[in-house]
């Protein structure tokens, strides 16, 4: 026996001890078993992505116990992904880390202490009033979220604009779909998609570019996949993406181009459509004009043809690199043009680009050229990432340059109309748009903004090049209020943290990708003293009015005084917004009252000017006479399609001449790789919610860097090795995943992880589209090197005590 007696005894003791630890293991896991049946079920909308899945919350003894899909819903048909099935674990007292009391510290290096709501609101009002008095109205700002309810965004921006007289109203949708807004307005004259999800079942060709639908919108992807699998031969799927993603699996054709060459690819498809005469002459004649440049100069078809001549498939195949061949470009263009109904789908891959608006325009170009619009299955459809980016922020006036119901700040007539509808003096809303997101946080860095209110989002993690902007947020002379349900990277930098109610703990409307507004009514109580935002804003505004001695601020919330905050208050806000502000606008929501929304299993798609129309579900396809009540109302001629969008005075679709433009930062000898960021199915955004659901965290405990096997071989990187991903701005250290996902010369990291070492937005670049002001998260240059072999890693979520 090789063991001495002493050694043997030692080992036995250790093993015995271990065995006792081992015994208890199975018991701690029993709680994870699935929830039991419920007493009652309450209709609502999923809190996570922008699909707008309808679901029911099971409540037992006042406690949220389960979620299930609603089969009658026109969005998800009853299907849910795991995120959607599990987020009830964050509601009420189900999660111990929920924020329950207002927390305050005068200086950011002090610890937080609990205070009462009265004290908290007084402090918030005093600090904002102080900034306004000392530094002017533009020294205060609101930074909101595509996850806030429409009522919340609406009342926040009303108080900021009408009350505090500033257009410093922004929101995180600037980071995700501002380019899509720009694209829709410049190409179609009206924001938001023309068609609906119903086109998934009618399309015969899907052109999926810059979207990993399978992971980012899994429930919608099921519908696309079903369509493909039921019609394997007749339905074609084209996936254009520099990375092979789970979405590529169902593709007939995968166009893998080098990052940043998408504009050339789209122009080359237009080239093939023109050369092979695949365009729809009648459609072009009736509905389209050609334009170019900043001054929107109108040009003729010949000029457009000459412009596109530059983009021959042979030349573009060389520009694009990857697996692109001239024949692949031709094939894609032919399928696109010839199919009975082609539907384009995109998200961040197109929007988060230095020329995101242009990329959007070029997709719309293909649809206008081939007449693939307004017909069944034909649509140019941008998916949205957040549950209420469309409904709350795009329609509710949540960005610095727009007022509610698609009105531009800079248009005097529209601005005065809003002032009149609110009953406040003319000239109260300043004519100049406020800071857009990057400019806003730049202003925070420079100390120009003295008080900022951040609601329901975590810019400290979600801004590109976030270290730069966290510096500003740490400034002692910037007073930061953060309203949220959990501690985040941003609450770490706050002076005042206000706990808010989560979905199903308050009442309000979410508007999803397909212009659909859906109501969620309160079903469980918020934990501790957490309050709905609408109540917080109302009470804060009343105090502001006193501090600044300004009755107009009070006037902004006057219609809502005395209302009970869980249902009556949001209903009053929704009524004001829909009945007054959307009247006569293209997103007319007058028919979609709370009563109507409560009757329907899902919701209402605008335009819905009357209750009768709303009860039918609203408008499936915009601009088509007979299907869209506004198309009939605005009709100027006998044509079946009426493009009445408010932004195009000529009521035409605009085909744009947009040249290829690369990313802001190209790989070079020092930083030879492209870095792209994205999403994964188990997590959502900054994972402040999904990271707190054990099942989801276990499925994907930490971010990794995806490296192409060929690159990994060259650099001697093995699976699991710790790799440093560094750019000119910052670095991460991540485990490697060697995978034929990204193309050669490109690495990919998902951005949900909260651990400092794995927060990829410390590495990304904050260049932005000059049109939409949306940052280019998708492309920057980086270098990678192995730092060590595999290391065990711990998942990380910000904790209040830490």
């Amino acid at each position: 026996m090789g063991l001495s007696r002493r050694e043997f005894i030692k080992r036995t003791a250790a093993l015995t001890a271990a065995s006792y630890v081992g015994i208890s293991l199975p018991f701690s896991k029993e709680n994870e078993a699935q929830a039991a049946d419920a007493d009652s079920w309450h209709k609502g909308t999923c809190r996570l992505c922008g699909s707008g899945c309808r679901l029911e919350l099971g409540v037992k003894n006042g406690k949220a116990v389960a979620l299930r899909g609603i089969p009658q819903s026109r969005t998800n048909k009853g299907y849910l992904c795991m995120k959607g099935m599990l987020f009830y674990k964050l509601m009420g007292n189900n999660h111990p880390e929920r924020l329950k009391k207002p927390l305050y510290r005068a200086r950011k290096d002090q610890p937080f202490k609990e205070i009462s709501w009265d004290e908290a609101l007084d402090i918030a009002a005093k600090e904002f009033a102080k900034a306004v008095k000392k530094y002017g109205n533009n020294s205060v700002a609101y930074y909101g979220s595509g996850q806030a309810l429409t009522e919340e965004t609406y009342i926040f921006q009303k108080v900021m604009r009408g009350g505090l007289r500033t257009n410093n109203v922004e929101g995180n949708p600037r980071l995700c779909m501002a380019s899509a807004v720009g694209g829709y307005i410049t190409s179609f004259g009206a924001d938001e998609p023309i068609g609906s999800y119903t086109n998934f079942e009618r399309a015969n060709c899907f052109f999926i570019i810059g979207s990993n639908t399978a992971e980012a919108h899994p429930v919608l992807f099921r519908r696309i996949m079903r369509r493909k699998l039921d019609n394997r031969d007749s339905v074609k799927v084209i996936n254009a993406d520099p990375r092979v993603s789970p979405t590529s699996r169902i593709a007939d054709l995968h166009l893998q181009f080098n990052p940043g060459t998408d504009l050339a690819l789209l122009n080359a498809m237009a080239y093939v459509i023109l050369e092979e005469k695949l365009y729809d002459e009648d459609f072009l004649k009736n509905y389209a004009v050609f334009r170019m440049g900043k001054e929107k100069k109108q040009v003729d078809f010949a000029k457009y043809k000459a412009f596109v001549k530059e983009y021959t498939p042979d030349k573009v195949a060389r520009i694009c690199g990857g697996n692109i061949t001239p024949e692949k470009i031709r094939q894609a263009a032919r399928w696109f043009a010839k199919s009975e109904g082609t539907m384009s789908i995109w998200t961040m891959g197109i929007n988060q680009r230095k020329r995101g608006v242009w990329a959007n325009n070029l997709i719309h170009n293909l649809h206008i050229l081939t007449g693939q619009l307004c017909k069944p299955g034909a649509d140019s459809f941008s998916l949205t990432g957040q549950p209420n980016a469309c409904g709350g922020v795009r329609e509710g006036g949540g960005l610095c340059h727009i007022l509610p119901a698609h009105r531009l700040v800079k248009k005097d007539k529209l601005r005065h109309e809003v002032e009149r509808l609110w009953g406040i003096p003319e000239g109260r809303i300043p004519p100049k748009p406020g800071y857009h997101t990057i400019a806003m946080f730049e202003a925070v860095n420079q100390g120009k903004i003295k008080a900022i209110w951040i609601n329901c989002t975590s810019p400290a993690q979600s801004l590109p090049n976030c270290d730069k902007y966290r510096k500003g947020m740490r400034r002692e002379d910037v007073f930061m209020v953060v309203t949220d349900i959990f501690p985040t990277k941003t609450t770490e930098l706050a002076n005042l943290i206000l706990p808010t109610a989560f979905i199903f703990e308050k009442t309000g409307v979410y508007g999803c990708t397909e212009r659909r507004s859906q109501l969620t009514v309160k079903a469980v109580d918020a934990p501790g003293e957490a309050k709905p935002e609408v109540w917080i804003v109302r009470e804060w505004a009343l105090r502001l009015a006193k501090e600044l001695n300004d009755p107009v601020i009070k006037k902004c919330v006057e219609p809502f005084l005395g209302k009970e905050p869980d249902y009556e208050l949001p209903k009053a806000i929704w009524d004001e917004y829909t009945q007054k502000l959307t009247k006569g606008r293209d997103n007319d929501l007058r028919g979609a009252t709370y009563e109507v929304l409560e009757k329907l299993p899902d919701g209402v798609q605008w335009p819905a000017p009357t209750k009768e129309w709303a009860l039918k579900g609203g408008t499936d396809i915009k601009f088509v006479r007979g299907l869209d009540p506004l198309a009939d109302k605005h009709a100027k001629n006998d044509l079946p399609y009426q493009f009445y969008g408010p932004a195009h005075p000529d009521k035409k679709l605009w085909i744009w001449l947009r040249p290829q433009k690369g990313p802001e930062e190209m790989p070079d000898s020092q930083y030879p790789f492209y870095l792209s960021t994205g999403r994964i199915i188990d997590h959502w955004h900054t994972s402040s919610m999904t990271g707190r659901i054990k099942e989801l965290m276990r499925a994907n405990p930490y971010a990794y860097v995806e490296i192409n096997p060929k690159d990994a071989k060259k650099l001697g990187i093995k699976p699991g090795d710790m790799v440093e991903v560094a750019s000119r701005r910052g670095k991460n250290i991540l485990p490697a995943k060697i995978y034929v996902g990204p193309c050669e010369g490109m690495v990919f990291v998902y951005w949900h992880d909260q651990a400092e070492d794995r927060m990829i937005n410390r590495v990304t670049k904050d260049a932005f589209d000059p049109g939409s002001k949306e940052p280019e998260f998708k492309i920057c240059a980086c270098r990678i090197r192995k730092v060590s072999g595999p290391r065990p890693l711990e998942p990380f979520i910000v904790n209040m005590k830490a």
Binding site: A13, K29, Y79, M82, L229, I681, N700, G720
Partner: protein, 212 residues
């Protein structure tokens, strides 16, 4: 080693007594089963490290040196405790707790050939089996979960999707247990909706002949 026994906080005799007592108590607390001491600990989701010889040979070949336990960067390999009788001290991976990431470091350090050097993709620690009654995608018609597919190191080979429902391909599954670890469903008995069954552990393994 020379230690002055008087300087120790407890005397050797005391320690021995304590250890003896605890061991006895441990044995009493659990129903004692003489056969259990001879039965292999390898079972559902409790697996040998990659390249392991047949379970018939394992306890005699493995010298309990603990090198595989030490080298594992993810701390997934654990030595078995005394309840395992003749298997005490041999390495096992409980994939529900920490799965094997197939870094293949353990096979390199094994001094006895109990773990035989093997390529990552040839590893056969077991076979992942989907419990279709418990799996959300198979059982609940309206649920979309494919965590096992997403975490599989041989995605689209070892686990494929059949109309968004996961299917395991026996040929490529290494039994690493990443899918088991990730699976969001935990059943009452502690099992997941996908579990690794050590179906290869009791036959003859690679590099071994029947007579050996």
């Amino acid at each position: 080693m020379s230690i002055n026994e008087d300087s120790l906080p407890i005397k050797r005799r005391t320690l021995l007594k304590a250890v003896g007592f605890t061991t006895a108590a441990g044995a009493l607390l659990r129903p004692f089963n003489a056969l259990g001491l001879m039965r292999s600990p390898v079972t559902t989701n409790a697996l040998r490290p990659p390249g392991a010889v047949s379970e018939k040979l394992f306890p005699s070949k493995c010298i309990r040196c603990g090198r595989c336990v030490e080298v594992c960067p993810y701390k997934c390999i654990k030595p078995l405790d005394i309840h395992q009788g003749i298997f005490a001290g041999t390495p096992v991976i409980h994939v529900v707790d920490v799965p094997c990431y197939l870094c293949m470091k353990c096979v390199e350090v094994c001094p006895t050939g109990t773990l035989i050097p093997i390529a990552q993709e040839e590893t056969k620690m077991g076979l992942a089996v989907i419990d279709k009654h418990a799996c959300k995608s198979w059982n609940e018609e309206l649920a979309l979960c494919r965590t096992c597919y997403n975490v599989c190191p041989f995605k689209d080979k070892a686990i494929k999707l059949d109309a968004l429902r996961p299917v395991v391909m026996e040929k490529y599954c290494t039994g690493c247990g990443l899918c088991v670890h990730g699976c969001p469903v935990t059943q009452k008995n502690g099992k997941k909706a996908i579990n690794v069954e050590p179906i290869y552990a009791f036959g003859t393994s690679r590099g071994m002949t029947e007579n050996e």
